[in-house]
Every structure is written in structure tokens, then in C-alpha cells.
Symmetry: C3
Subunit: 346 residues, 3 copies
């Protein structure tokens, strides 16, 4: 049975007033898809017509826009109020509790208070797990790993030895931290592997997406700062340093030893070469290919990257390239004719 | 021991005639690599010389092309006949049967008839598995998941809570469905996480590639339609809607809330921005970056995308860009000279 | 307790002389980050100032550059000597030994001498594992797989049936080998699946990255040659043939039936279309999109690809494209004026 609350309970949770009937709300949904027991919201006034005709049982809405809405919770910022409600309705993932007797936990590992450890999990020697952590099935935690309080490792995550997570980190399924960095060189006597003896250190409140991979450093550490949110299928190479509160969107790849500042946003499928310095507050557009340092506060796009305004003009012009070649050919003919004419005029 | 059949048995299976010796066939292979007990085929007449000299024990071939072929199964469409034979020789993956006592199945979960559940699998509370399903080892199925009849979840697939699969779906290893959508916003008081309370709904006969990730919706559902085939390492964001019988090739990324119509083909490494509408029967070339809606029946390529014909011309011209800059510089000099000459002529 | 050695022991291991104090070294680090009990190195003379002021307890350095360095191990090639030391300090991953009673091993499977098999591993019928292999938890090894001596399969790797690994292969976590190739065709009667009855054959000394996927062939085999090193999140399609000692960097995608020669380097996020021939010693730049064969010894970049020198010029000119359009428009106006003037001069 999913959660349910009355309109009054939700209004109370938000510290807001409500008007209309105090119905029971069984879920949250968009204006378009909401049903009669669901709560929706109006953030952008251009959808006000939709708000007035939605099937939703109640709306979170600004008071000045609620004239024609029957059941309404009245808030100044409906978007944030609705986001808070999403937390109210969110269900805890997982139904197992306690430490499974079918987990393989090394006797030297230390597990904190109030942890959940699912069956079929391996926790290696000298690993330390903080309080209130949840470790789902199929997770592997190598020797000497250190995991802060309140972390969640969803199914099939892997932390190779000596990986550290701060507090309240959340790893989506299949994330791999601490796999060996790519350290190979061609030599006269064949390919040589450079052992990777560094580790991965993750800050507090970091989110890591499904099947994302973060390699351990050659030396010292690969690091991700507090509050950074990494999406699915991202590759982070050895010795990369990512700052705080960055947004790294899906399928981004960051090559070895590159440093990314604080509060940067890397859109989907961006690629960064190795050994770069990306300043604070940098935004990089989707699929961009970055081969040079980027100064703080820049907005860039393209492969190779250019500043955002140039890129937007380039995007409009690009499909006109074939036409441009024709125009230049035409100019060349015109010029030749003019020159010929002047020659004859002499 | 792999499967084997006589030429006569195979011809009979295909409803076709054969000529030559009724030898035993132990496998299928290409004209180039087939050995004397293997069956091959000729689909494209330009390879007829190879067909006449192959080491294959027998060929599937059109009768009018079979004059110089000794052992032949005679079919009008050798390609499809051969594809059917591949089904004949295909071996069932996996050797375990029944419900393993080393699977962790919640007492409230319902498992259909004739299912196989490998060891080290977790099936959560209130999950429902249809008849004839195979669940390999390392799979995690969250609470309230619903899986239709005849589905196969290969090793280490993850379905987070309330994910639904239709009938006859096939998930390659490591696929993750229902991980949390990427819902983060920067605010004055730090990064806020928007809980993702929607789910993932997959239609019938859907194939999902290895290590592919499909995120659960913020609200309502992320959906994939019947018969759609998704390759490996694909990212499908929260609230994406994909139609029926689409082909989504490897490493494609689709950002949140984008809608893809029916029978679309997205080639490898394509990226789609969020909140787009892609019509039916759209084909998008490899590595394309899509930032705008695409009308039905379009064929587009490039990053940014343009129509296919423009793109093909662009591809030819692109390497000539440096030359074009030189040509324009030359024109500028010529014009300057002409102007000077006209000035002097005055 | 991490490993430690004296400077004398390390010098002895390298066959080198040392000067200064014979202190105990507890780890290796960069010049920048090394502490007083750590060893660092100077490879590039431009960092000599840093070498003279580093906090490192000792340095590996060329004798002629060591004047102002107190504790030094004197080597002609400090980089390689240091790489060898990394092997010395590298810790074995994993602390389990023997064959776990919580592994599910089919009675017909054959496990070599001195193998480690973690709990929660499945090894299928007729699988053969060589001597000295380590199989971590969550690994699935299908029927008839063959694994050479000295291989390591880290947590959650999957080998579907009949996959073969040569000797001394190392698979990072979550790698999937032998998943079904993408074989679907649209027909008048809906999408048809072409069963994939081939396999995956991997040579000796091959490294495969985390969450990388290598599909089994439609017929015959998908093959990776000896000594090839594949990074994380790479997709290798069915029937791809990769030669020896190739470097395939992260997030590369190679479509079906493409052949890559020996000693090729494919940089990050490169995409190769299907059925191509890439010669030996080819280098392909990051994010390149390859749709045509490439001759041996070529260096190419870009999407579409061009030769490296053209690409580098193109990269400089690309942001000037908007300007180029303006220049051409200006020329057109100038020409029109000139023509008008000449017309009036008549």
C-alpha cells in the first residue's frame, strides 16, 4: 500500500493554508496525467488553463492564481513546495532489515549501528561502515574501505579496496568505484601495465549514478567533492579531481588527472581530455569535446569547444556550409570575370 | 555437446527441398569461415564465387544460383531461411532449473509456474513474477515489481521497486531499471535533491542491452513501448517515453521527458536533449546531437543535426574548411586589388 | 598495514645505487603531495625545482640531477624505475582464499589448481577454469566457458556461455562478455530477432574495463587479440575483431563486424561504424566518428574523421566560421558594387 495523506496534512507539512475539500491524496502527478485522488501543481502561469481543467484532486498553487481552482494548497513557490511533497510521498527502497546471515562479512570489518546489510554482499577485511548505512545485495566492499554514516549502496555496487565515501552518499545500482585506472604504455618489449596504487575518495552528500565508473588513482587519490551529483554511465579516470556541488550528467567521460572546479555543470556525453584545469562555475554543453583549460565562469559548447555565443551562431550556420562553398565558388567566377573585363578595358 | 541436424532435417524444418548428400551439420558459419560439417548461405549474388569454393558442408541458396554447389538447401530467401536456422542451433543460456534455495525471496512475492530462479537472487516484497520466467544469479527485483510471462533477466540485472515488465522481455546482463532519475537543483541553500517517486514501465517483447540504464520517473512513469530493442550502455532519463518497435543502438543517451515515436532508429552514441518530441519513423545518424523536435519520417544526422542530404554534403566539405578560409582570404586580396585599380583608373 | 621498504631495499630491487639516509618508505606519491616517508621521482627536468623542495623522504632521480637532493635512488630512467616500484607497493586486491562453499559450482565444471572462488559466484556446466585464477563475488560464468591460467575476474563480471579468455586476463568489475549481439530486423510481420549463436574469444594478457560490454557473435566469434587493453564503459559489437596490443579508451563504441588491426589507439568516446577495416598502428582522436576504412599508420580525428593535420587546422578555424560567413557576405557586396561601377563606367 502506497502512502496517503489528506490535503490538510499536506498543507500542515508545508506550513501553508488550503481551500476546498479536505480529500485524501494517494499520490502526486503532472497536471496532464493526475487523477482525482492525486495532487498536482502550477509553477508556470502559462499552464493556468490546464490547471483549471486538470482531473487532479487538488493543486499546489499561488493564491493569486487559484480563483478557478476548487481544492488548493496555497504557496508562494509551488515548485519547491511540490518537490517537498515528493519527499513526503517517496517510499523507502528495499524491504530487508538487519544484517543478513547470508552476507559474507570479514571478522575484522566494523559495521556501525542501525545498518542494513542484504544477503549476498561481501564486506572485506578492515572495512569500516558508518551508522545507518544500507548495503543492498550483490554489493562488494573491498578491504580497508571506509564508508561514512547514512550511506546507501544499492544493488551490485562495487567498491574496490581502500575506497572512501563521506556521509550520506547514495550510489545507484552497478556503480563501480576504485577499479584500476588505465595505466598502460607501449614499450619496445610490449605493453607494460603501470600498477595503480592510489584510491578513490568521495566527499559527503555525493550521488553516483547507475553503472558509473570512477577509477582509482595511479598515486594518491581520485577525488569527488561534497554535494557533487553524478549521473549514470559516467567515466571518471584516475587522479581526476572534481570539486563541490558539480552536476555531471550522463555518459560524460573525464580523462586522467583533469581537475574540475566547484559548481560546474557538464552536460550529457561531454568528453574532457586529461590533465586539464576547469575553473569554478563552468558550464559545458552536451557532447562538447574539451581539450584545453577553461577559465572560471565560462559557458562553452561544441567539439572542439568554443564560447557559448559563438557556438549558437555556429549551430545556425553549420547546415549552410554547403551553400557557403557554392557562394565562394560563385565569387571566384565573378572576380575572374571582373579581372578579365578590366584587362580588356585597358 | 552442441546441437546437430542432418541436411534433410534442416530442409524439412524450412519446408524446402535439398540436393546433394544428406550430411550431418554441426553448426552454422560464414562462407569464409565455415568448415566441412557447417552450413552457410548465399544471400548476395556478388559472393557466388565464394559460395562455389567455400569449405562449408552445405549451403542455403536460391535454386537458380546453385548449379555449381554440391550440397544445397534451396530457398527463395536464403537470408531469412538462414536466420531461422540460427534459432534452430541456438542453445538455451543457463543450466540451472527450478527455484534455488539460495535465492532470497520475500514471502509476499508471487512466482508463476515453471520459473527458474538462480541462487543469489533477491526478490522483494509483493513482487509478482509471471509464468515461465528465468531469473539468473545476482538479479535484484525490488518491492512491488511486476514481471510478465516469459521474461528473462540475465545475471546482475537490477529492477528497483515498482518497475513493470510486459511479456517476453529479455534483459542482458547488468541492465538497471528504475534507478533514481537525476533530479537535483542548485539553490541558495545548496544542492537540493528532488525525490523521484515515479516508476519504469516496459512493454511486451522489449530487449534491453547489457549495462543499459533506464531511470524511474520524477512523477508518473518512464515508458518503453512494445517490441522496442535497446542495445548496450544506453541511458534513458526520467520520464522519457519511447514508442513501439524502436531500435536504440549502443551508447545512446536520451535526456529527461523526451518523447520518441514508433519505429524510430537512433544510431550509436546519439544524444537527445530533454523535453523533445521525436515523431514516428525518424532515423537519427550516429553521434548526432539533437536539441530540437524532429518531424515524423525525417532522416537526420550531425551535431547539431541537419537533414541527411545536407549532412552528407557537409561531411564531404568539412575537411575542405581550411582550404575555404584560404580561398576567402585570396578573394579579399583580389577584390582589394581590383578596387585599387579602379581607383587609379579614375 | 600497507607495505613498507627501506630506501636500500628499493634500490636493491631496482639494481640501483642510492645516496643519503636509508629511511623507511611507506608509500609512493607525486612531488607535490609526497610526505616525509614517501618516495617520489623526477622524470622531466623542468620540475627540478619542485624536486629540490618536495617533502618526499626520497627521490628516484638521474644522478646528474641529484646534486641538491638529499635522499636519492639513482637511475637512468626514473619513470620506469618508479613504475616498477609501484608494482612493489601494489597490494593484492581481495582477502578471501580458497573455494567458497557459498559459490554455486556445477559438478561438471573444472577448476584448476590454486584458484580463489568467492562466495555468491555461479560457475556453469562444463566450464573450465585454469590454474591460479581469482573469481570474485557476484561473477557469473556460463556453460562451456574456458578461462586460461592466471585470470582475475573482479566482482560482478559476467561471462555468458562459451566465452573464452586466454591466460592472465584481468576483468574490472561489471564487465559483460558474451551478451547477445544486437540482431534485429524490421519486417512486414514486425521486428524479428536473429539469434546470436557465436561467441566471444579473448586472447592472452587482455585487460577489460569496468562495465565494458563485448557482445557474442551472430556466427563464429567476436575476438580481442593478445595484450589489448580496453578501458571502462566500452561497447564492442558482435563479430568485431580487434588485433593485438590495441589501446581502446573509455566509452568507445565499435559496431558489428568491424576489424581493428594491431597496435591501434582509439581515444575516448570514439565511434566506429560497422563492417569497417582499420589498419595496423592507426590512432583515432577523441570523439571521432569513423564511417570509412582507415589505412595502416594513419592518425585521424574529427566527426567525420579527417587526417590529423587537417583536423588541427579545422579546430582553429571552426570558431571563426561565423566570421567567415560575414566575410563572404561582405565580399558579395563589394563585388556587386564593383560590377555596378564597371557598368556605369562603360
Amino acid at each position: 500500500m502506497a502512502k496517503q495523506f489528506t490535503v490538510a496534512e499536506i498543507a500542515n507539512f508545508l506550513g501553508a493554508a488550503y481551500k476546498g475539500e479536505n480529500i485524501t491524496i494517494t499520490g502526486l502527478n503532472t497536471l496532464e496525467e493526475a487523477q482525482s485522488t492525486e495532487l498536482s501543481f502550477l509553477a508556470n502561469p502559462k499552464y493556468i488553463k490546464q490547471a483549471e481543467t486538470t482531473k487532479a484532486g487538488a493543486l499546489i498553487i499561488r493564491e493569486d492564481q487559484a480563483h478557478n481552482v476548487q481544492n488548493a494548497i496555497l504557496c508562494d513557490n509551488p515548485y519547491f513546495a511540490f518537490a517537498r511533497c515528493m519527499g513526503l510521498f517517496a517510499e523507502k527502497e528495499g524491504c530487508f532489515e538487519g544484517i543478513s546471515e547470508f552476507a559474507s562479512i570479514h571478522p575484522s570489518a566494523v559495521i556501525g549501528e542501525n545498518c542494513t546489510v542484504y544477503p549476498f554482499t561481501v564486506i572485506g577485511a578492515h572495512a569500516k561502515i558508518g551508522d545507518g548505512c544500507t548495503i543492498f545485495s550483490g554489493v562488494y566492499i573491498g578491504e580497508h574501505c571506509e564508508i561514512g554514516n547514512g550511506c546507501t549502496l544499492t544493488p551490485n555496487c562495487v567498491l574496490m579496496s581502500r575506497t572512501r565515501l563521506g556521509e550520506n552518499c547514495y550510489l545507484q545500482p552497478g556503480a563501480v568505484l576504485g577499479g584500476e585506472g588505465y595505466g598502460f604504455v607501449r614499450t619496445d618489449f610490449g605493453v607494460q601495465k603501470i600498477p595503480q596504487i592510489g584510491h578513490v575518495h568521495i566527499g559527503d552528500n555525493v550521488e553516483i549514478g547507475a553503472n558509473t565508473t570512477i577509477d582509482r588513482a595511479a598515486l594518491a587519490k581520485t577525488a569527488v567533492g561534497n554535494g557533487t551529483c553524478i549521473d549514470n554511465l559516467v567515466q571518471i579516470g584516475h587522479n581526476v579531481q572534481i570539486g563541490e556541488e558539480c552536476f555531471i550528467i550522463s555518459q560524460v567521460g573525464i580523462a586522467g588527472s583533469t581537475k574540475v572546479g566547484n559548481k560546474c555543470t557538464l552536460a550529457g556525453q561531454v568528453g574532457l581530455s586529461g590533465h586539464l584545469n576547469i575553473g569554478d562555475n563552468v558550464t559545458i554543453g552536451p557532447q562538447a569535446g574539451v581539450t584545453k583549460d577553461i577559465a572560471e565562469n565560462s559557458v562553452v559548447s561544441g567539439s572542439p569547444t568554443m564560447d557559448y555565443n559563438t557556438y549558437m551562431r555556429y549551430c545556425i550556420l553549420l547546415p549552410k556550409t554547403p551553400e557557403l562553398f557554392k557562394r565562394v565558388s560563385a565569387l571566384e567566377k565573378q572576380i575572374a570575370k571582373l579581372e578579365e573585363r578590366l584587362e580588356n578595358n585597358k
